[in-house]
Amino acid sequence: MTLLERRRGEAPRRGRGRPGPNLAQWDWVLLAAATALSLFGCVLVASAGGEELGRRQFLALLAAMAVGYLVTRVEPRSLRAWAPALYAASLIFVLLAFTPLGVEIAGARAWVALPLGFTLQPSEFAKLALVVALAATLAGGRGEVEPDNRTVAQALAIAAVPIALVLIGNDTGSALVITGIVAAIMFVAGVSWRWLAGLAASGGVLVLVAVATGLLADYQLQRLVAFIDPSADPTGFGLNTIQSRIAIGSGGVWGQGLFAGTQTQGGFVPVNDSDFIFSVVGEEAGLVGALAVIFLTGIILWRGWRIALDARDMFNRLVAVGVVAWFGFQSFENIGMALGVTPVTGVTLPFVSYGGSSMIAAWVGIGLLHLVRLASSPRRG
C-alpha cells in the first residue's frame, strides 16, 4: 500500500459536503497540454476543412470543456455506483447506430443522427463507459488482490459486447482501440499472465478465423494490407496513405505554413480534417509542428499516467489507466496511419480531429482523470 499512500498534502481542506472547484488541485499541466492541443486542432481543422469547420470545432471544444468540468463535479464514489447504468446506456447508444437513426460513413455504421444535422459517434462514449465498467469490475470489492477467474471472465464479457457491436458496425479502428484499452486495464489490474497469454493467443486465432472465413470485409483486409504496401492498391486505400506521406514529407522541417500547404489546400489527402489530420500538421507545420503534437500528446499521457500512479484505490487507478490507454492507443493508431506504420482504420486523433463526439469524449476523459486526481487528494482521506 506504500505507493498509494503517498499523498499530496498541499491542498487546503474545505468544509464538508460537495466542495466547489478546487483550482489548486487541478492538474494545470494536463489542462494546458490538452487545451493547447485542442486549440491547435481547431486551427488545423480550419485549414483542412475551411474556417466554418474550424469555428464549429472551437464551439465543440468549449462544449467539451464544459462537459469535462461537469464530470469533475461528480461524486467519485457515485461514479463506481453508476458504472453499470453508464455501460448499459452506452450500449443502447451504440445500438442506435443500427436503427434508422444511424448514419453510415466510409463503410462504417458508427454514427447516430441528431437534430440540426449533428451526428454523434456512440463508440467514442462507449469506450469511456467501458473503462468505468471494467474498472468497477476488476477493482473488486475487497482491496487489492489478483482478480479471480470469475471476475476476469465477467470483465471479458463486459468488454466483448461493445467490441462485437463496433465490429458489426464495421468500425475496425474502434474495435482495435477498445481491445487495447481492455488489455491495458486487465494488465494493470493484475490479471495473471496465464490469462493474458491465453487471451492474446485466442485473439490471434479469432483474427485468423475471421480472415479465413471472410468474416472480415474485403475493404478491411485491403486497408490492412495497404499500409504495408500502398503501391498494391494505389488508387484505393493505398492512395490515402501515399498522399498522406507525400503531404507530411513535403512539409520538411518547418512546414509550408498554416493554411498554405499545397496538398492540404488542394484536397489531395482524403478526410484530412479527421482521420488524416496529422498530414495537415506535417505539411503545414512541418517536423516541428508534428513533434509538438506528439509532445503534447506525450504530456497528456504522462500526466494521466501520473494520476493513475497516484490513484487512491484500484478502481480509480484503473479508470485513469483506461483513459490513458485510450488516448495513447488511439493517438498511435491515428498518427501511425498517417505516417504509414499502422493500418488505415477510421479513428480520430483525440483533441485534434474534427468532430464534436471525439472532442467531448476526449474532454470527458480529462474530466475523469481529474475526478481520479481529486478522489486521490488527502482531503478525501
Binding site: R245, L287, R317, F332
Partner: protein
C-alpha cells in the same frame, strides 16, 4: 500485490513512451530524410503545365488568297489517368460523354487507346500522343451545342476537359490541294521526345504538319505555344495560374500556287482520270514557271481533302484513302517509266555524239538487234524523215537505232560497268535519277537506266534470281511446264549475267523504257531546262515566310541546280521540233482548235509501257515555245497514249494559263513577282 500492479503500470508507461518515440522517429524520417523526394511528389500532384496553342500561320496563294486558314475551336479531351481512377474505371463517364457527343463508348475507347498498344486501332484513330497527355476526342465540328453541354457541368465528368485547340479551315471550295497543303495531326510521343531541347519543342497536345507544306514548313507555321503553369486541386480544378507566357502566332506562308490555276489543274486531272475508266489509274499534273521553277500548280489524283482531317479523321475514311492510293503524292513520289517524253534527252546524247540535228533518219516499222525485234507504236513506218519529224511522230525505231549505235560505239558488252553511257549521262545532266529538292516531303529520286544502275540492281537481286533458277518454279511447273522453263531460263540468265549492260538495255533506255523511272516533277524540271536555255531549276512551292503582322521573315528563292551544258542550238532545235507535236504530231488531236499560232505550245507525248497493265500516258510541255514561261507536265497511269489522255488535260491547263475561252490565271503578265501584303488577311 500493489507493487505488481504498479510495476505493470510502469511497463504500460514504457510501452506508451515507445509508441510515441516510434511516431516521432517516423515523422523525422519522412520530413527530413525523404522530405525532398516527397516534396517533389507533392509538386507533381499539384502543378500542371498547360499549353496554349499558338494560332497556326496561314498558307496563301501567290496573290495573297488564303488556301489554308486557321481558327481556334474548343475541344473535349479526356485524361486517361483520371478516368482510370474512377471507381468504375471511367465506364460511367465514358457512357455519358459518348451520349452527349452522339458517339458510342466503343469509339471513345478506341480513340483512347495508345497506338503503342498491340491491339490498337490504326492511326489516326488510336492516340499517338504522350501517354500522360489528355486525348482530344471531339472538337467544335462535332457540334458546338454538344460540347457546351459537357462544359456546363465540369465536376460531373471527372477527367473530361474542355480546351482550346487550333483548327485548320480551307476557305476555297474550288480546290482540294491535298498533297500540296498537307494536314495536321497530333504530335507523336516520338516527335515530342525528338524536339525536346530544340528551339521549337513540341508539347504532347501540339499539332504538327503531316504531309505537304504543313509538314515542310511546320516550324514556320507552328508559332510558339504559350505556357501556363497552374496549380490544381485533387479534382483537377484550376486554383491559380502560377506564370504564363503568351502564345506567339505562327508565320504565314506565301506560295507560288495560283488558286485559279490549281483549281483548273485539279479539275483537268480528275477528268483525265475519269477518261481512263480504270480504277487503278493514278495521275499527276505539274505547272512550273519555266525560268524559276516556282510551282504554280501541283495536283495528284486520287488525292485526299485536307478537310477530312479537321477534328480527327475517322478510321474508316483513313482506310478508304489508304486503299484507294490517295495518300501518295504522285507528282513527287510516283516513279514511272518516262517513255517517249524521254526522247529529247536522247536527242541531246545523239547530238553530243555527232548526230546531225537536221539529218534524215530511217523510220522503219521495227528494229531488230541481238535477236530481238523492237517495234514502233502500232508498227507505224514513216520512211526517211528529219529528226524533227521523228520527234513529232515519236518514231521509236529512229531512237532504237541511235541507242544501239551508241552502245556499240561505247564498246558493247565489253564495256565495263563503270563506263558512262551517253544517254544515261544526258539524263543525269537533266536531273533524272536524283530528287529535284522540291520543298515538299518524301520526294522520290527515280532511276536512270545505265550500266551502273544495272550492276547495282543485279547485286541486290542476284541472290533471289539464282535461288529461283535453282528451284525451277516447281509450283508453276505443275500447271505449265513451258512457262516454268521460261522463268527458270530468265532467272538463270539474270543470275549469271544480269549485271551486264546489254544491247537491249541500251535500246530500251533510248526511248525512256527499261530501268529508267522518273517522277513527273523530274520531267517538269528537265523540260524547264530545255525551255529556259539550260538552267536546271529546283521546283519550289513556297515564296516567302511572312510574320502575322506582315513583316517579311524570309524570302524563299529556288536553289540553283546549275546548267545542263547543252549547246544553245540543241535546245533551240528541241523547242522548235516540239512545237510540231501539238501542231501536227502525236498531240495534234488533243490540241485541235487551240490557238497555237498565238500561244505556241512545245511538247512531247509519252506512252510508257508497263508490264501487265495499260501504258502510262504522258504529256510534257512548255509554252509559249518562242519564249517559254510555263512548263506543264501531265502523267496518267493506265492512261493509254499520251495524246489520248495526258495531252487533252494539258491543253485544258494551257487554256487557263492563256485565257483561252476562260479567264486567264494571270491576267497581267505572268505570275506575280512581288510578295503580296497579307498583314490583314484573315480567312
Amino acid at each position: 500485490m500493489m507493487s505488481r500492479t504498479t510495476s505493470r503500470l510502469l511497463l504500460l508507461g514504457v510501452l506508451l513512451g515507445c509508441l510515441l518515440v516510434t511516431l516521432a522517429a517516423r515523422t523525422a524520417q519522412l520530413t527530413v530524410l525523404r522530405g525532398p523526394d516527397l516534396a517533389a511528389a507533392a509538386e507533381q500532384n499539384r502543378l500542371r503545365e498547360l499549353s496554349d496553342p499558338a494560332p497556326r500561320g496561314l498558307i496563301l496563294d501567290s496573290s495573297g488568297l488564303p488556301l489554308v486558314g486557321t481558327s481556334q475551336s474548343a475541344a473535349v479531351s479526356i485524361d486517361r489517368k483520371t478516368l482510370a481512377d474512377q471507381p468504375d474505371g471511367g465506364a460511367g463517364v465514358l457512357g455519358e460523354v459518348a451520349a452527349a457527343l452522339g458517339l458510342t463508348v466503343r469509339q471513345l475507347r478506341q480513340r483512347l487507346t495508345p497506338c503503342s498498344e498491340p491491339d490498337s486501332p490504326p492511326r489516326p484513330v488510336c492516340d499517338d500522343g504522350s501517354p500522360a497527355a489528355p486525348v482530344v476526342i471531339a472538337t467544335t465540328s462535332a457540334g458546338e451545342e454538344q460540347l457546351l453541354r459537357l462544359a456546363e457541368s465540369p465536376g460531373r465528368y471527372p477527367g473530361v476537359e474542355l480546351t482550346a485547340t487550333v483548327q485548320r479551315t480551307y476557305p476555297l471550295g474550288s480546290i482540294t490541294g491535298g498533297h500540296v497543303l498537307g494536314y495536321l495531326g497530333e504530335a507523336s510521343a516520338d516527335e515530342v521526345a525528338a524536339t525536346a531541347g530544340s528551339a521549337t519543342p513540341l508539347a504532347p497536345a501540339d499539332v504538327v504538319g503531316r504531309g505537304g507544306l504543313e509538314q515542310q514548313y511546320d516550324a514556320d507555321l507552328r508559332g510558339e505555344a504559350g505556357q501556363r503553369y497552374v496549380s490544381i486541386d485533387a479534382q483537377g480544378r484550376v486554383q491559380a495560374t502560377q506564370q504564363s507566357t503568351a502564345a506567339v502566332p505562327g508565320n504565314n506562308l506565301i506560295t507560288s500556287i495560283d488558286a485559279t490555276l490549281q483549281a483548273r489543274v485539279e479539275q483537268e486531272l480528275a477528268e483525265a482520270l475519269r477518261r481512263t475508266s480504270s480504277r487503278k489509274a493514278r495521275g499527276a499534273a505539274v505547272v512550273l514557271a519555266a525560268d524559276t521553277g516556282r510551282v504554280l500548280a501541283l495536283a495528284s489524283q486520287p488525292d485526299y481533302n485536307p478537310r477530312d482531317w479537321v477534328g480527327g479523321i475517322s478510321e474508316r475514311r483513313y482506310q478508304q484513302l489508304s486503299d484507294s492510293g490517295s495518300l501518295v503524292d504522285y507528282p513527287v513520289q510516283a516513279q514511272v517509266p518516262p517513255g517517249s517524253v524521254f526522247k529529247p534527252i536522247t536527242v541531246v546524247a545523239m547530238q553530243r555524239k555527232g548526230y546531225g540535228l537536221n539529218d534524215y533518219y530511217e523510220c522503219p516499222p521495227d528494229y531488230t538487234a541481238g535477236g530481238r525485234t523492237f517495234t514502233n507504236f502500232e508498227s507505224e513506218a514513216f520512211g526517211s524523215i528529219p529528226l524533227r519529224r521523228a520527234i513529232e511522230v515519236s518514231c521509236n525505231t529512229v531512237f532504237y537505232r541511235a541507242g544501239d549505235r551508241l552502245w556499240q560505239r561505247g564498246g558493247g558488252e565489253r564495256a565495263d560497268s563503270g563506263e558512262i553511257d551517253p544517254v544515261a549521262k544526258a539524263a543525269a545532266d537533266f536531273g533524272l535519277g536524283r530528287a529535284t529538292g522540291i520543298d515538299l516531303p518524301a520526294e522520290s529520286s527515280g532511276m536512270v537506266s545505265s550500266p551502273a544502275a544495272k550492276y547495282s540492281l543485279w547485286e541486290q537481286r542476284k541472290q533471289s534470281w539464282c535461288t529461283a533458277a535453282k528451284k525451277g518454279y516447281p509450283r508453276v511447273r505443275e500447271g505449265n511446264p513451258a512457262k516454268a522453263d521460261y522463268y527458270t531460263a530468265l532467272d538463270r540468265e539474270n543470275c549469271r549475267s544480269g549485271n551486264r549492260w546489254r544491247q537491249g538495255d541500251a535500246i530500251n533506255a533510248a526511248i525512256g523504257q527499261g530501268l529508267t523511272t522518273v517522277t513527273p516533277l523530274q520531267i517538269a524540271s528537265a523540260y524547264a531546262a530545255i525551255a529556259n536555255g539550260g538552267r536546271l531549276v529546283q521546283p519550289t512551292v513556297a515564296r516567302a515566310v511572312v510574320a502575322s503582322d506582315g513583316r517579311l521573315v524570309r524570302a524563299i528563292a529556288p536553289a540553283d541546280r546549275g546548267e545542263v551544258r547543252v549547246p544553245a542550238g540543241t535546245l533551240r532545235f528541241l523547242r522548235t521540233a516540239m512545237t510540231g507535236v501539238p501542231a501536227r504530231g502525236t498531240a495534234a488531236t488533243a490540241f485541235a482548235g487551240f490557238p497555237l499560232q498565238r500561244h505556241p505550245v512545245a511538247g512531247k507525248t509519252g506512252s510508257a509501257q508497263v508490264a501487265g497493265s495499260k501504258s502510262t500516258s504522258w504529256f510534257a510541255s512548255f509554252a509559249p515555245a518562242d519564249d517559254p514561261e510555263y512548263v506543264v507536265v501531265v502523267m496518267i497511269t493506265e492512261g493509254g497514249t499520251g495524246g489520248e489522255n495526258a495531252a487533252p488535260a494539258a491543253r485544258g491547263i494551257y487554256e487557263t494559263l492563256f485565257g483561252v475561252g476562260v479567264d486567264a490565271a494571270f491576267p497581267r503578265s505572268g505570275p506575280p513577282e512581288a510578295i503580296p501584303d497579307v498583314a490583314g488577311v484573315r480567312p
